[in-house]
Symmetry: C2
Amino acid sequence: MHKPLLETVAGLRQATPPLWIMRQAGRYLPEYREVRARAGSFLELCYNPELAAEVTLQPLRRFDLDAAILFSDILVIPDALGQTVRFEVGEGPRLEPISPEGLGKLRPDNLIPHLMPVLETLQRVKSALAPEKTLIGFCGSPWTIATYMIAGQGSTDQAAARIFALTQPDAFKHLIDILVEASIAYLVAQLRAGADVVQLFESWALNLDEVSFRAQVIEPNRRIVAGVRAEVPGARIIGFPRGAAGMIGEYVAATGVDALGLDYAMPVGFAGKLLPQGLPVQGNLDPIRLLAGGAQMERRIDEILEGFANRPHIFNLGHGILPETPIAHVDQLVARVKGRN
Amino acid sequence: MHKPLLETVAGLRQATPPLWIMRQAGRYLPEYREVRARAGSFLELCYNPELAAEVTLQPLRRFDLDAAILFSDILVIPDALGQTVRFEVGEGPRLEPISPEGLGKLRPDNLIPHLMPVLETLQRVKSALAPEKTLIGFCGSPWTIATYMIAGQGSTDQAAARIFALTQPDAFKHLIDILVEASIAYLVAQLRAGADVVQLFESWALNLDEVSFRAQVIEPNRRIVAGVRAEVPGARIIGFPRGAAGMIGEYVAATGVDALGLDYAMPVGFAGKLLPQGLPVQGNLDPIRLLAGGAQMERRIDEILEGFANRPHIFNLGHGILPETPIAHVDQLVARVKGRN
């Protein structure tokens, strides 16, 4: 069966770009909030295959989207490795910060058994999903996960992890090695459970100089791509190094990802010049423009569509949809991309 | 008298790059902490010409730096315009968030009278500074100032200002107009009080798409450069749009700044290719590398020096020095840049 989004990742340009929305299963949807309210904690929702599959499918019932993306969180990996992870309402994630000595307590052997409910979610979604829809799995990339594991929470500048990486290079390398292996195992399991394509979320690629970017982003992402393809030949992988800016060309060439997600700060024409001809790209509307809606949003959608018209393009936001976004604006976005207004 | 740093801004490459350090007057220095402790609030220190001049000069007594930079803060502009600004210890700045209705209460006529102590600081530093040293003045650029005025504090993604700009464009334009005029008046006064060069700190340029970057960063910065030069012909101006990434070429061409400050995420070779030949650049060591010190820092210093060897280059960090930085590491940095080890 023809899956336009998967074909785009594979390099086949579609006349109408396929579309999904980062964090499309989320708080802007009342039906999500309803499920979330009866699911217990956020992680309990991630580990409840029935409810997680339900929220994964919700946005496709409302909108003409071309993909479902697994409802989960990038921090299930440290949770599965045995680090304490909690989600405080309105506060974001809180982890017991890891020390060099604490690395030995991580339990890589526990990873896949712990994540079985997530794999069951994928199986459930797969069996319910229309055949022309693409199922996207994902994980957080090692550097991004490490920033949370070391700081114990999100931060503006990832200073704790950056200091750790420079001052305790051996321990940091050990942590990255654990995360690379965990990512490979987890993504391979996702592909075997039904994911058509997987995305690597390197959400905090933006505060690294080029030397650290090569060491902490490019090299681990390259190893994951190679490791996944060694187990699942031909596996389709989207890289999303948010804030990679001047490093995107090198990232694509070195990692071998099939397609590149672009954040909204990446100028369209500039990306076009930096990237190899024919490379599939995904993005990159600013979620604030979707929140605000109206003519400014439609103008920007048109600019993005025109800017990437000469290459395979998956339309998406350049970052996750904001919880306050009106649903009518999402309708307006979908209609505009699909050429119906 | 020969001022190597000013000459570099003017386009004359020096055999040894001149050097200053962002936030060189700051908490990593015990002599700064001593003055800070007896100055009252942070803003009281900014408005005390005797003490502010003293902390401005302190780093030049310890290190072989080529410039003094006015000790002040980018938020003196909203404070001078009448918005309530406080600095909470360990918390960063807190402002009474401004609403569209509140714009009418801002007092542009109050700006220069309120900032007279800052201008006196410049006069004091000028008269005490060795003639080969360059005196740098500065202000925050309008977008960056607006993000604080609207959110009331710093934020990871500047969402409040980005939403304000898209949903209340007329009020936002009015605010930017006020800030452009205030910046011109303030920088002109700084140049007349003795600053040899001024720097525009656009510290939060990193979360804007290209359309918003042009409207909120490039256009206001362009107006400031033109407005300052209309009053002070030949005024030397350094632009520092942190996170501008793919937009740096357009920023330089459109604003007409003499020199461009580069943040540490900007790859050296990439910047070299994007920027016009001969354009002076400033930067861009990651402050974390200075904090960590040692061989990794020296390697990176050498890479930066070599990467910009073919153009006028002012060595600097790519962001402010961290308070925990050991002074011995700063000595190591200065010696390396000055070619003495």
